[in-house]
Symmetry: C2
Subunit: 437 residues, 2 copies
């Protein structure tokens, strides 16, 4: 243990909610950090757009600057945390710092998902670390766990609820609200933005999923590979059918390694009430990692928030100080080049909701169309509804492509009343064990 703390001057890019919280944590928890690392991290500069703006906490005299060069060119700055957000100018600043040999911690998910290769190349060139825990699920230490605790476990599947806004909305819909009511409540409580498109459309989850897949599989997974479906199409009927089968509708992020190919997707799914992800309620996030040596490990916690994000930023700063000079994790997490699994090839059990005319022979026709595409029925419940019939079908594992062709054929049947929809099912149990209340 280092008995005399060595001062480590650090700089922040940005001094908003997260930046101010990072500063506060570094000050208030200085003793803890010194115990862990032998060092005391001291904020000496913070880049802002306007030095004179009113701020709830003052960072101290001379700390704020509008001139990036005073940070970049200050030889005493040993470590920089980027908490300004946005792609520009954050991206260029980070690249410059890394190239010059200054390690960087970033909380910027979009920057990482869009300019990752360039950032890691700059870090390798400068011989320094780029850490990014806060970019995915705030305080949940999933990147650290993947890179440092599960280094020998060959993770082949990542399953997660990585967007708190949509999880809050879906939880509220289980309480009886419509999608529109639940969204309005989320906005009122500050869980959803005025323009909620990035959350409810699945784009925020897609960026996180791309980062998680990249780190878990060690291969660059561009955000463009992620097949994205939002929750805008989820109805109270889906939620009710899910409940009748003891399942929950969740926006599930899935990254799967199939041989040398990767499948990444974000979309609504039915999660078995007995599956660990089912218990993730409200604005919380959870990530489940499945691998050879560990079976599965799940991490759950708050996926957003200023202080939560700041705590992850500080943990990364502490880890950089604790590993500098050892060669540990100074590399890009990417070390191989995997391909993308063709769309439609990933298999899953499915829940289908079909509306058809209520007469003899219809069921046989549906079963035929499903069987023709290799889709095998595990459970089927028929309910009368207003002169026609609603069929709830749970299938065994079936490839998405075949399922979609079967659905198209069913929609085209003269007996179909349209509204045929499908959601994947997430369950550890065999689907035939799922009940219907």
């Amino acid at each position: 243990m280092t008995r005399n703390a060595v001062d480590v001057p650090v700089a922040l890019l940005g001094y908003g909610t997260v930046g101010a919280a990072v500063h506060r944590l570094l000050d208030e928890q200085g003793d803890e950090i010194e115990r862990a690392t032998g060092h005391r991290l001291r904020v000496v500069r913070a880049l802002v757009r306007d030095v004179d703006r009113d701020r709830p906490c003052s960072p101290g005299a001379g700390v704020l600057t509008t001139d990036f060069a005073t940070i970049r060119d200050d030889p005493q700055v040993r470590l920089v945390a980027e908490v300004m957000g946005g792609l520009d100018p954050a991206g260029d600043h980070v690249v410059e710092l890394l190239r010059r040999g200054t390690p960087v911690v970033t909380a910027n998910k979009q920057l990482l998902a869009r300019r990752g290769p360039e950032l890691f190349e700059a870090a390798a060139g400068g011989g320094v670390q780029l850490r990014f825990e806060a970019s995915v699920c705030a305080a949940i230490p999933v990147i650290k766990v993947l890179r440092e605790a599960l280094v020998v476990t060959n993770v082949h599947r990542v399953l997660g609820i990585v967007n708190g806004t949509t999880n809050f909305i879906l939880s509220a819909m289980e309480g009886g609200q419509t999608y529109a009511e639940a969204l309005a409540e989320a906005q009122r409580l500050g869980y959803a933005e005025a323009d909620p498109a990035e959350d409810v459309g699945g784009l925020d989850a897609a960026a996180k999923t791309a980062i998680l897949a990249t780190v878990a599989f060690g291969s660059r997974v561009p955000v463009e590979w992620v097949e994205v479906e939002g929750i805008e199409g989820v109805t109270r009927e889906h939620v009710a059918a899910a409940r009748a089968m003891e399942m929950h509708v969740k926006l599930v992020a899935r990254a799967t390694l199939v041989g040398d190919l990767v499948d990444v997707r974000v979309g609504p799914a039915l999660v078995d009430a007995r599956h660990p992800l089912a218990a993730v309620e409200g604005a919380f996030n959870a990530v489940m990692l499945q691998g050879d040596a560990i079976r599965e490990i799940m991490l759950e916690g708050p996926g957003a928030g200023g202080i939560e994000t700041a705590s992850a930023v500080v943990a990364d700063m502490v880890s950089i100080v604790g590993t500098t000079g050892t060669g540990f994790l100074q590399n890009d997490p990417v070390w191989r080049e995997l391909g993308r699994l063709p769309a439609g090839e990933l298999a899953s059990p499915w829940y289908l909701r079909l509306e058809v005319e209520d007469r003899a022979g219809v069921l046989a026709r549906l079963a035929q169309e499903l069987a023709a595409e290799g889709v095998s029925v595990a459970r089927l419940v028929q309910q009368p509804a207003d002169g026609h019939a609603v069929l709830h079908v749970v299938t065994h594992e079936a490839a998405q492509g075949g399922l979609e062709r079967a659905l198209a054929a069913i929609r085209a049947l003269p007996e179909s009343r349209g509204h045929a929809s499908a959601l994947p099912v997430v369950s550890d149990r065999g689907v035939e064990e799922l009940g219907w209340a």
Copy 2:
């Protein structure tokens, strides 16, 4: 990134299931480890009792030895993993190695819980790390997360299911089995030892709880402080009452920081079905960490198993290589001295099961006895049973001492039929929201 891997010769103490798995992981995952650390870890020695015993995997010529001195005195050995178990001679070996400046990784929960202070003193004296992830919940990286990811979060509560055997038995009892039947099944499946006392009596969980509390609170928490109750007294009636209230009976480990005092306990509790711990089924483990900056983070996964334990041992070895020479985590996790909360002071909501004569005035007497000790009733359900009445009571938060005094008074009432029992309730919801089916 170090382009030319530096060989790190390592030794194992013990070469049983875990030791052989550590060796295999180090070999098979050598590329991953080199990518993370720039080093290749190579097993050069392994201490065993009998070199000539038949082993499923051979460690290679000249690796096995029965002579500890050949490991201790070999200057090329840079790191040792203790996977032999037991207190003796493992403890003395570890102390000797640490004192001489060899970092050690141990999977030995009892050694750590019983000789922790001595081990960390030896590590400090030798200026090297002692890591112990595998000693608690196998592959679940809770120690790493506490020490490296949550360094600035002031964790004040740890809540966990840390024994897979008892969790399996309680899950089986929910399926309708008696305690004896469930225990027999656990033994048949290899989840429980022939002598299950350490698991079902809560002693295994107590050692893990002491380690978790020590790391979480940074103060030595001796295993003797843990108030332990096993699951031997859990009946099908408890399980049925729990289900009627949408709760599950679990063996819950709890460590709570109350001001400057610590309360640590292991015992059966009723867990709300909507609480994340309720979803932990079968032989799995989970640990929930509650702290200032993170609200709560939960980690869940397999809590035992040879390969799972080995993966945690290897992760610690990798982390030591990655941080050697930086001063990072070379210290004892203990940095302060907290007291023990007096028995009976910790408050919790409670479930009470009372059997009384079914006649007028009895309810009033019970309510009086509870109120006299400051125990306030949140929900009460009365069921007729064979000429008398069973009362299911859920209380608001009440200190254990007052509750026990009220229970004693109730047992002494002439109307009592005995069998008054109490279990703590774990719920994020207000207890008045808990239902009764």
